[in-house]
């Protein structure tokens, strides 16, 4: 979707247009859920965190302004998601839910996802290695290689300038390659980084 269309939807949603908000929700739900899931690898927590992210988006939508750049709405949502994920890691069992109603029983889908997680060696090894990186490197690697965000977008998410993000991204990749080569040597013999 082009930036002008997103701007129009945001502006309408700020004026309490339900249809516009629903469209924005459809646009971003899968992206946010995937991003949260890859950081937590827990389906139930991913549901809770994603719910909180969208509740915060809704509650703070009035105050959102297109200031920093062309991708600022995407960056804003990912920033909220990043903060929520950090809250989850900080509080774990004490992580609070904004919505107290029961949301969607996807038990069949959840079981399939959990099966996939357990059997997907690539995901397990990569995730274990990513978790050994500095927090800021983890975020950059996830946003860059899983969410395919540009350096410009990542710089807006992290509120750092683009050249810093490029340097961090290079270092994150080098560190990750080192970890993968040390820890997962047997499995990754066939890979050529």
């Amino acid at each position: 979707m082009d930036n002008d269309k997103t701007k129009e939807l945001v502006s309408r949603a700020q004026n309490k247009d339900k249809e516009a908000f629903a469209e924005l929700f459809d646009l971003y739900y899968d992206k946010v859920l995937s991003y949260v899931f890859r950081r937590t690898l827990d389906v139930d927590y991913s549901k809770d965190i994603t719910s909180n992210v969208f509740l915060k988006v809704l509650k703070n939508l009035d105050r959102f302004e297109w200031r920093s750049g062309p991708f600022s709405f995407t960056a804003w949502i990912f920033r909220i998601a990043g903060n929520e994920i950090n809250q989850y890691f900080r509080f774990q069992n004490r992580y609070k839910l904004g919505l107290t109603i029961d949301l969607g029983d996807d038990s069949k889908a959840v079981k399939e996802i959990e099966k996939k997680i357990d059997s997907d060696q690539h995901l397990m090894i990569l995730n274990k290695a990513i978790r050994q990186l500095k927090p800021v490197y983890q975020e950059i690697i996830n946003l860059r290689y899983f969410e395919y965000l540009s350096y410009e977008e990542i710089s807006e998410v992290l509120k750092k300038n683009e050249s810093t993000v490029r340097v961090y991204s290079k270092r994150a990749r080098e560190d990750l390659e080192k970890i993968l080569k040390q820890d997962a040597f047997n499995f990754l013999e066939k890979y050529d980084f």
Binding site: Q14, N15, K16, K18, F21, A22, F25, D26, Y29, D30, L33, S34, F37, V43, S46, K47, T50, S51, F54, L55, L58, K59, L61, D62, L99, I101, D102, L103, G104, D105, D106, A109, V110, I113, K116, I117, D120, H122, L123, L126, N127, Y145, F146, R173, E177, L188, K190, Y191, D192, F193
Partner: protein
Amino acid sequence: MTFEELFKKANIEIKLDRHKDDLKSALLKNDYFNEEREVWDWKTFIPSLALSLVLIMFSFNSTLFSDSQ
């Protein structure tokens, strides 16, 4: 296999349709959609602030004036 290809292999798709639908309808019922939008109207705010300051100064001066008599 390259670094990017490894990420592609590890990128499993996650779909939770019922959660998505239920969350959307819960959000659309939120009070947000019935509230007035909070907007700072500087054209109204600045004259009101100026008027308030004038009134404060006026009452402060009158107190001083009555004390000195």
